[in-house]
């Protein structure tokens, strides 16, 4: 026998060089234009908010794993993504303590208590945002507009409405594209979000199905409701939701038709909530609702395997 010991394993013996960490890094890169835009539009406080959320999420992820006596998963960068997404979903002048409470909900309650990465049944950042929205409604809906914006709110820190709640004609498409409007720090600049989305599709991190179907459904529903579809898509959190929140791997279907149904459901619910509920926005709630339906959608849309033949009636197993 050879002295030299050989590895014996079941095939395949080679792996692609893709990794969870690389995917998360790509999401962070895709969120970079939006984060930079947030800092430019809302100033230094946006940068602080992002830093607080990211740091808290990473720290909580580390501590939660430690307490649960499981190996650390900080290295996969998923906590950074959660922190970043949560920060981008908050208004700029929110109390950092409230933001940190949101991180606790996202990482500890929604993610780690259900088993950590890949096991949460709803999107952690979204769930945290909704908990904050319900717990601190005034702080969460305190929108600040940029200086010089056409929204009359020229002084920083003055309350204004998001484009969805504002009077018709307050904002132009250009305002919406470059972020001259009120809203969460990450949802205002449409251009930055679209660039990030294109990057994710090119890097094959996400399939374009979910964002495209989501936005298309919302557009069609706007037409049915007599709303301006371009405005509805660009304003509010729809782009952030469609590109970065609805495409979360863990909480979206893995099958292609499942993705179509899921995204169409998101678009439909968003427009229903925007039109009929007394809240101006419905992106978070609709994605969260569809998250919960994912296991059912997946079961319904299992692909037909190659060579599958339907058994004739009466034929025995």
């Amino acid at each position: 026998m050879m002295e030299n010991k050989l590895y014996v394993s079941s095939s395949p013996h080679i792996r692609s060089n893709n990794s969870t960490r690389r995917i998360m890094l790509d999401v962070i890169i895709a969120l970079a234009p939006t984060s930079v835009a947030a800092c430019v539009i809302f100033g230094f406080r946006a940068a602080v908010l992002i830093a607080v959320c990211v740091a808290t999420c990473v720290l909580l992820e580390f501590l939660a794993r430690k307490v649960m006596k499981r190996e650390s998963t900080v290295g996969d960068l998923s906590a950074v993504v959660t922190g970043l997404l949560l920060a981008l979903n908050l208004p700029v002048d929110i109390n950092p303590l409230i933001a940190m409470f949101g991180c606790l909900i996202a990482i500890v309650v929604v993610k780690q208590m259900f088993g950590g990465i890949g096991m949460n049944f709803v999107n952690p950042a979204l769930a945290a945002r909704i908990v904050l929205l319900v717990s601190f409604p005034s702080a969460m809906m305190h929108w600040v507009t940029v200086k010089g914006a056409p929204a009359k709110a020229v002084i920083d820190a003055t309350t204004s409405a998001t484009p969805l709640a504002a009077e018709k004609g307050t904002y132009s498409y250009v305002d919406l594209l470059i972020g001259r409007c009120g809203g969460s720090i990450g949802e205002v600049c449409a251009i930055a979000l679209i660039i990030g989305g294109i990057y994710l599709v090119i890097r094959r991190v996400i399939s374009p199905i979910i964002p495209c179907v989501y936005l298309a459904t919302a557009g069609v529903m706007s037409l049915i409701f007599g709303l301006n579809p371009v405005f509805q898509v660009l304003a509010g959190g729809m782009l952030l939701g469609a590109i970065f929140m609805a495409t979360d791997y863990t909480t979206s279907p893995v099958t292609n038709w499942g993705k179509v149904i899921y995204a169409a459901g998101c678009g439909l619910l968003t427009m229903l909530l925007r039109t009929y509920s007394n809240m101006p926005e419905g992106v978070s709630f609709s994605i969260l609702l569809m998250n919960i339906l994912v296991p059912l959608i997946e079961r319904m849309t299992a692909p037909r395997t190659l060579g599958f033949v339907k058994k004739a009636k009466g034929e025995k197993k």
Binding site: M1, M2, N4, L6, Y7, V8, S9, S10, S11, P12, H13, I14, R15, S16, N18, S19, T20, R22, I23, T73, D76, S78, G115, G116, I117, G118, M119, S207, Y249, T250, P253, V254, T255, A302, P303, R304, T305, L306, G307, F308, V309
Partner: protein, 456 residues
């Protein structure tokens, strides 16, 4: 039956992965290995019943002499690959871990050809089947299914298309590629023989488009008026793994799907490895049974990768030494390709009939990353050529959930390994699904045993 036509381009297939090709040996002439000192011929180098030795210790044998056979229908006789003396008949460990008798022949270096070796007379299909059976031929692509059984198409099935498999989608391996370049005329003559006897009027030579030289070589020969009825065409295929898997190849070449649990003949197809078909032509010409084969020796630990023609039964160690030995300490040795090959416990094993490659890797390639949690990215689903849900199958296998495994069509998994290859969390998907399949097979056996017991 509808008019058979040749596709201009392959039919679409789903999934697959872009594994790095690493075909380092594609442009190197095949080397011929000198006769080794000793060969070992295990009694089972095919799918089917093992053979029983016809010789005993001390006998003198000649090259091509039949030394073991079985009367079972699914089996293939074994022939001496060297001339010399039978030294011992002893158990050896096969790559899959089974222990099984092997005939050890000490070579006298003379390579005397056995008087039994003479071209067979073949004038009918049944004579062709007998001849192919006597040749000991098994599918040379890796599976090792006895070719005579494959060619014996049941009366209730109609086969109208023969597909010659030169796809060679496994990374590193180039033995079929070299076969196409070096033995093109054997390939065509083998195709013509088989298609005439089986009455097949459409032959598609499926070859991945990363072998332009082989495509050209084969086309040149086909166009050279050897095929007056224009019944043979070369079809370049997408170079994605697993293009050469039987069911995927049939889909790409004919657009047909092999029904779940069925055989290629259920889709009217016969798929032949290029090496096997060329061997049939050579056997009919010379009568020399399957005693040697071409295999690729490559991998990061091999000094000078090459294709080598070796006598069957040659120790793997000798083959590696012949191409210059190891460049670094080998940490993993494979029989077959990196996607579906078997990792060997040591290099003291022997070349088998169906063995198309020996790959040796150093520490860096041999060590696999630790698996982490599934993030449900769905890459396994997109990559699965059989359109299964590997992540769900993996979960069901871990739970030993019979109902879920059946619902998810576990048995339709062909274990190509695309899911594990592509998984960013490095999960052992196909490895776990294999266990799930084994579990289903065991359940099935238990059920059969129970129903039999009930009847008594």
């Amino acid at each position: 039956m509808d008019q058979l036509s040749f596709p201009k381009k392959p039919y679409p297939t789903r999934g697959g992965v872009h594994a790095p090709h690493n075909k380092h040996t594609a442009h190197k002439e095949t080397l011929v290995m000198p006769v080794p000192k000793m060969v070992a011929l295990p009694m089972n180098q095919h799918i089917g019943a093992p053979c029983v030795p016809l010789v005993k210790v001390g006998d003198t044998v000649d090259v091509g002499q039949c030394i073991a056979r079985s009367d079972a229908f699914v089996s293939a006789p074994i022939h001496a690959s060297v001339s010399g003396t039978v030294k011992k008949i002893d158990k050896i460990t096969m790559p899959d871990g089974n222990r099984l008798d092997a005939i050890f022949i000490e070579s006298d270096g003379e390579q005397r050809v056995s008087p039994d070796v003479k071209p067979p007379e073949v004038e009918s299909l049944s004579e062709l089947l007998t001849a192919v059976r006597e040749s000991g031929l098994v599918g040379l692509g890796g599976a090792g299914f006895p070719t005579a059984v494959k060619l014996n198409i049941p009366a209730d099935k109609t086969v109208d298309t023969m597909i010659v498999n030169v796809a060679e989608c496994e990374p590193y391996i180039t033995s079929d590629h070299r076969e196409a370049l070096e033995n093109g005329w054997d390939i065509i003559s083998g195709i013509i023989t088989v298609k005439e006897f089986l009455g097949i009027h459409r032959v598609i030579v499926g070859i991945e488009n990363n072998k332009p030289d082989a495509i050209k070589a084969l086309r040149d020969i086909v166009d050279n008026s050897l095929d007056p009825e224009d019944e043979i065409r070369v079809l370049p295929l997408k170079a994605t793994y697993p293009q050469g898997a039987e069911k995927i190849l049939i889909k790409a070449c004919t657009g047909r799907e092999v029904p779940m649990g069925g055989l290629p003949s259920d889709a009217g197809c016969l798929v032949m490895n290029v090496g096997s078909i060329a061997f049939i032509a050579r056997y009919l010409k010379t009568g020399m049974p399957l005693v040697s084969r071409r295999l690729t020796v490559d991998g990061s630990a091999i000094k000078e990768p090459a294709n080598v023609i070796v006598p069957i039964g040659t120790p793997i160690k000798d083959v590696i030494e012949f191409v210059g030995g190891y460049k670094e300490e080998p940490k993993k040795i494979l029989m077959g390709g990196p996607m579906m090959g078997i990792a060997l416990p040591c290099d003291e094993l022997y070349v088998l009939k169906q063995n198309n490659a020996i790959l040796a890797f150093g520490e860096k390639e041999a060590k696999l990353a630790e698996p982490s949690a599934c993030i449900r990215c769905g890459k396994c689903v997109t990559s699965c050529p059989m359109r299964l849900l590997p992540l769900e199958l993996c979960n069901a296998s871990e739970r030993r959930d019979e109902e879920a495994l059946n619902r998810l069509n576990a048995m339709n998994c062909m274990e190509c390994g695309c899911c594990s290859f592509t998984c960013p969390a490095k999960r052992h998907l196909v490895q776990t699904i294999r266990l799930g399949k084994a579990f289903l097979n065991q359940k099935k056996r238990e059920q059969i045993a129970q129903s039999k017991g009930g009847k008594k």
